[in-house]
Amino acid sequence: GESVGLHLPTLSVQEGDNSIINCAYSNSASDYFIWYKQESGKGPQFIIDIRSNMDKRQGQRVTVLLNKTVKHLSLQIAATQPGDSAVYFCGSSGSARQLTFGSGTQLTVLP
């Protein structure tokens, strides 16, 4: 089956610094990857996605990097702000077109 895991359950960064959240996936057939942000008491909110034919995609203050060789995905947040504090989930999808989510990394932005 497909599994997705995050490297660190918690991450603390200083406000203004860059954040990097890492994720590993197991299924080499996964062709789509996605990052969600979940604030306390809310549902997950889409941040950015990437398909397997790409290795980098940029959004507003966020960049997703995909390394298919080592089955690794990362989310980079530039100039981290207090509002970025949340749990971040990576997800992947393969031939079943079903998203499998990792366990989440709690990002805390320190003043």
Partner: protein, 114 residues
């Protein structure tokens, strides 16, 4: 544009009691998902609908869980009878046709079974 609406937001019941959750997806979204999210974990898919048809219910514990999406819009998820291990947040998500991957989540229903 209104997002995915779920109710109730919180529910506390005793074990062996029934419970139902309701979801109203984003208007025009054909695909609807129910997920369960345990504390500290990512969402786990329970069932996926394409319009009114359940196309993936392989992870739904069918002995006690049931779902329906009459008319292909609103959906309800039911548990009968509830067990202590069912305590979790139940999330509903929807996506437009052809965009299966980008899913829009509701706020969830936090279920506590005592």
């Amino acid at each position: 544009e209104a997002g995915v609406v779920q109710s109730p937001r919180y529910k506390i019941i005793e074990k062996k009691q029934p419970v139902a959750f309701w979801c109203n997806p984003i208007s025009g979204h054909n695909t609807l998902y129910w997920y369960r999210q345990n504390l500290g974990q990512g969402p786990e898919l329970l069932i996926r609908y394409e319009n009114e048809e359940a196309v993936d219910d392989s992870q739904l514990p069918k002995d006690r869980f049931s779902a329906e999406r009459l008319k292909g819009v609103d959906s309800t998820l039911k548990i009968q009878p509830a067990e202590l291990g069912d305590s979790a947040v139940y999330l509903c998500a929807s996506s437009p046709q052809g965009a299966t991957y980008e899913q829009y989540f509701g706020p969830g229903t936090r279920l506590t079974v005592t």
